[in-house]
């Protein structure tokens, strides 16, 4: 039996194909404007990587902000639940999850494998991946490199603005004053970590803490968050896929709840194809 989880994020699309025991394949691709309706392409990639024909996949769950645009999914589940499940499978001891996405950030509380509370910011770019992306842009450093570079800083500069627009200007001002880029970046990571921390602490941060999402790939941000949190944090080997992994896990459970005939009926109807139209719901911004 095979199960699939698709996580259509604002910035990156992730697919996990799983059987009862292990992960068979994972694919990570940029979402892009057009790719919002091309989830089937990423799915095809994942299937060929796993060597599994589409017909053999028993249950598919879509999650993420673009979950509505996956016509071949059996069910949609919110990314909060999926992240929680994915992290819980990888790290059963984790009680607090900090997810830093491309356009939002979330805090999720887990108890005995159940979601007990969450908090989210998708109204303001501060504390999200977008903040780091914009600053990397003005400093002329690649997004993938800013974390490592910030770790070289000996005197982190003081970035007093939380707002992305103002912090961008502050970073430029520091640059014109001759502050080394690594010191500016260290200050920027501190500012972003402090914004995320002040949100997540509202739901009480308890160990263990896991960081997921694109932000978890940034070692500088993880270190700054670790300092704020006050104890070590864990990061999955591939922090981008926890949502898709959780979706695949939930897909595996769903199968047990459905009888065989209905399952076969569903599989017959399923088509691996693009979204041909957007309904009102899916064309809403973000």
């Amino acid at each position: 039996m095979f199960f699939a989880g698709l996580d259509i994020g604002s910035t990156i699309t992730k697919v996990v194909i799983k059987n009862e025991k292990k992960i068979c394949a994972t694919v990570i691709k940029p979402t892009g404007a057009e790719h919002r309706r091309l989830a089937h392409k990423v799915m095809e990639d994942a299937l060929s990587k796993a060597g599994v024909p589409f017909e053999d996949v028993d249950y598919i769950i879509a999650t993420g902000y673009g979950r509505i645009n996956v016509p071949f999914a059996d069910r949609q589940v919110t990314e909060i639940t999926c992240h929680m499940r994915g992290v819980n499978w990888l790290f059963p001891a984790v009680k607090t999850i900090i997810d830093i996405g491309g356009q939002d950030s979330k805090g999720i509380k887990v108890e005995n494998g159940k979601l007990v509370n969450f908090i989210m910011n998708d109204k303001c770019a501060a504390g999200t991946g977008r903040f780091l992306e914009i600053i990397a842009g003005v400093l002329g450093v690649k997004l993938e490199e800013i974390g490592e570079l910030s770790l070289k800083s000996t005197r982190p500069s003081d970035i007093s603005n939380m707002c992305t627009v103002f912090a961008e200007q502050e970073a430029l001002l520091r640059l014109s004053e001759g502050t080394p880029v690594e010191d500016i970046l260290a200050g920027i990571h501190k500012a972003n970590a402090s914004r995320i921390h002040s949100m997540v602490k509202k739901i009480k941060i308890e160990p263990e803490v896991a960081i997921t999402g694109g932000g978890a790939k940034n070692r500088g941000l993880c270190k700054a968050l670790e300092e704020k949190v006050g104890f070590p944090v864990v990061v999955p080997p591939e922090p981008l896929i926890t949502g898709a992994l959780g979706a695949a896990l939930i897909a595996g459970e769903q199968i047990a709840k459905i009888d065989k005939e209905e399952l076969q009926e569903r599989q017959k109807k399923r088509r691996l194809e693009a979204v041909t139209f957007f309904d009102d719901e899916s064309t809403k911004a973000r």
Binding site: Q103, K123, C124, A126, C163, V165, F166, Q169, L172
Partner: protein
């Protein structure tokens, strides 16, 4: 009677006025362009030249603004809020509620009948409530700030925005453009979003008539109109909404 200079070195614009006996002799406005030292020097030199005066003719300088510390001449520092209040009072004496929309911040100031500050609310933590949004969206749409008002007035179906964040608003505006929404409707939608935020601040303080708007936001007639609708009161705008704080700085320092 000697000449007095008032300087307001802001994050986007630097303003200078030369006054004598409470009368405006000359004024100058220049972009700050990230260099406070040069901007302060140039804007004062420009105002002096317009008045055909030399630096030595100036008896005192009163100054305010983000870049106030970079002024090379001896000056008296006065808070922006006091300067705004006093300067606006000198041109519009009936004003009791003053809404200033600057590049980096917005302020609502309650002004006493004598032009002093009775109360004040400031939004400067985030670009969401500031004039910066107007610049960002004007750039996305390829129009100038002065065009925003007339375009907004033509809107029939103002676009709805789901966020106040300047960064996300920019993204949403680009999405709207891609979907074919008219510029006019995007601008009117933006004006509503911004006006709602500032009006909430004004209501928190209590709006007493007359109301006035200064700073860069006052140049945008569309924003002024929608703000009027939001707070339900007529809003006056000084003829030169940029230099009110500089005028206030000169008037206050003259009395010291």
């Amino acid at each position: 009677m000697a000449y007095i200079a008032g300087l307001d070195i802001g994050s986007a614009l630097s303003k200078a006025v030369i006054m004598r006996n409470g009368t405006l002799i000359s004024s100058s406005i220049r972009p700050t362009e990230g260099n406070f030292v040069r901007a302060a020097e140039h804007v004062l030199a420009d105002a002096l030249q317009k008045a055909q005066l030399a630096q030595t003719d100036i008896e005192r300088i009163g100054a305010c603004g983000l870049g106030v510390a970079f002024i090379a001449h001896p000056f008296t520092k006065i808070t922006e809020i006091s300067c705004q209040s006093r300067g606006t009072h000198s041109v519009l004496p009936t004003v009791r509620t003053l809404i200033e929309i600057g590049n980096q911040s917005s302020r609502v100031i309650k002004v006493t009948p004598k032009g002093k500050v009775a109360d004040c609310l400031v939004s400067d933590k985030c670009a969401a409530g500031s004039g910066r949004i107007l610049q960002i969206i004007a750039r996305v749409l390829g129009v100038s700030i002065e065009d925003l008002g007339p375009l907004s007035a033509k809107s029939t179906h103002p676009a709805k925005f789901t966020t106040g964040c300047a960064v996300f608003l920019e993204t949403e505006a680009i999405s709207r453009v891609a979907e074919g929404t008219a510029k006019e409707d995007i601008i009117a939608g933006l004006h509503r979003t911004l006006a709602a935020k500032i009006a909430a601040m004004a209501h928190r303080m209590g709006v007493e008539e007359d109301c006035a708007m200064t700073g860069g936001g006052a140049v945008d007639s569309g924003l002024v109109k929608i703000m009027e609708a939001e707070i339900g009161k007529k809003i006056l705008a000084p003829q030169e909404p940029f230099i009110t704080a500089a005028i206030g700085a000169a008037l206050i320092v003259a009395e010291k």
